[in-house]
């Protein structure tokens, strides 16, 4: 490989990377453009167009986005904590214990790997109604609190942890919970991180189930709030809708931009496989 062709290679990769990135960030660029300009520039990209913040104030006044944001944050945190707690306990049992019916129980878990509660929304709605939980944040989260996917991933990881570590801790008199907490969880950090990202992203974006189970501002997550805000029966208003989108996604984007190095690095250091 001579130096010349190597740099050509590089130039090509750089170009392709930027082209792809541009394509990917286009919706965000467009959202930003419309949000900061008056509505008549939604479809005209004139660099001399006047800037404005009224779209933001309009969106802010028209719907309680702060509340929606809070609801989503509560929801996502609640689900993640529950999934990790329940998943870890179950995964430990599947990975390190012998008991009758293990195979059957594990296959029940695997079934849920694919059949997510979203598909069973009709029946789950009835259950929530019977539990009196309709229109609560708990009801949005409850069906997801045990994740087949999470249990499966953690079990696979736990099985790679040497049994000797477990035994040594047991001889020292550490309880099961103590061993899970001090031996297994630290060693499975990468799995937690990867699963956490999947879970947070899934529930941050989840729409169908919350749409059906929530009725009020106090429980609606962002996705549902945005969708009813953007009802287009009387003509779509991209500038205000996009301002709302930026208001609600802005904090996360900003956080990623600021902390992306730390985020990606810790993700990498964890070395998920």
């Amino acid at each position: 490989m001579n130096k010349m062709s190597f740099s050509w290679d590089r130039a090509l990769i750089t170009c392709a990377a930027w082209a792809l990135a541009l394509l990917w960030v286009l919706p965000l660029i467009y959202a930003t453009w419309t949000a900061f300009h008056p509505a008549e520039f939604e479809t005209r990209f004139d660099l001399t167009a006047p800037l404005t913040l009224t779209n933001f104030s309009d969106a802010w006044v028209q719907a309680p986005f702060a509340r929606y944001f809070l609801n989503t944050t509560i929801l996502v945190t609640m689900i993640l904590i529950a999934q990790i707690a329940l998943g870890t306990l179950a995964a430990y049992a599947f990975a390190r214990m012998d008991f009758r019916g293990k195979g059957i129980l594990f296959s029940l878990v695997l079934v849920q790997l694919m059949i997510m509660p979203d598909i069973l929304l009709v029946e789950n709605y009835k259950t929530m109604r019977d539990l009196g939980l309709v229109d609560t944040i708990l009801a949005i989260g409850l069906p997801y609190m045990a994740s087949g996917f999470g249990i499966f991933l953690l079990r696979q990881t736990f099985m790679t942890i040497p049994q000797e570590l477990d035994d040594a801790a047991r001889i020292e008199g550490t309880s099961i919970m103590g061993r899970i907490w001090r031996v297994y969880m630290p060693l499975a950090k990468p799995t937690y991180l990867a699963f956490g990202l999947v879970s947070v992203s899934a529930h941050w974006n989840n729409f169908l189930w919350p749409l059906i189970i929530t009725n009020s501002v106090e429980t609606r997550p962002l996705t549902v709030g945005l969708s009813i805000f953007a009802a287009t029966d009387s003509g779509i208003q991209w500038s205000v809708i996009n301002a709302a989108t930026l208001i609600t996604s802005g904090p996360l984007l900003l956080a990623f931009l600021l902390f992306q190095r730390q985020f990606v690095q810790s993700f990498m250091r964890a070395g998920i496989k």
Binding site: I13, A16, A17, L20, A21, W24, L26, P27, L28, A31, E42, T43, G87, A90, F94, M97, D98, R100, K102, L105, L108, V109, V111, Q112, L113, M114, I115, D118, I119, L120, L121, V122, T127, P143, M145, A146, I151, Q156, T160, W204, N205, L208, L222, T223, L226, A230, W238, I241, N242, T245, S249, L252, L257, Q260, V264, M268, A270, G271, I272, K273
Partner: protein, 289 residues
Amino acid sequence: MRRDWIYACLLLSPAMVILVGFTHIPAIETIINSFFSTGRGRRVPEFIGTDNYATLLADPVFIKALKNNLIYAAVTIPASIILALMMAVFVNEKLRGRALLRMAFFTPTVLPLIAVANIWMFFYTPGFGLIDQIRGLFDLPAQNWVGQTDTVLYTMIAVATWKEAGFFMIFYLAALQTIPMPLREAAALEGASRWYFFRRVTLPLIMPTTLFVSVNAVINSVRLIDHIFVMTEGGPNNASKLLLFYVYEVAFQYWDTAYAATLTVVILGILCALAIAQFFFLDRRVHYK
């Protein structure tokens, strides 16, 4: 052994209660309901055997949704995985502005599909939409991408791929970082081309990530329908109707819960088959690593 059993019970029961309560029991109830008629008002549901299944097989909308969903999965899954891998390779290089690139690829993860769908709607709008404005520069005619039965499904696929590739990129990026630098340098010294190295070393090493990502991709090919609500509602003439959207429609707009249950049973069947297949594959590949 006996103590183990008690402990196992204690450890498992919280998760199992929720799994069984919100997945298995509802799944069984759904199967039972599919053999009954829908109760409306004062008419109670009656046992009708397999009538709902006969209706299903004769339902052109179901057949169409099934076909659409197969195409949707067949394109979205490989496209998003390949693009994700490309992106990860790109941002793993020491390129200028790597931070910006990463952030660009990461945007879909943060922007909810339901909100972004409106933006995509603008891109696709005939005449004054973004794509057509660009086409207009080359004197190409306006195209009604979302309004034509032969293109609409692909516009939905593009949005889904956009959404997923950026997300999967993160996992690949982390996996690529674990490939030791010396390995790469050694290969370069030996005269191995980048492509050869990628094929023979990188790909096998990131296999577990590919499996992880593909499980997610398969699940999402059924689940990811938010943009359909905003952009097409399955139209025109069901050309962009996907199975889960049809279930929603039948259950919550037609109020035909029994038929919705029948549709759900079909999805359950497909997913179960996939789950079993994937389990054997996954267990073999990841377990003994």
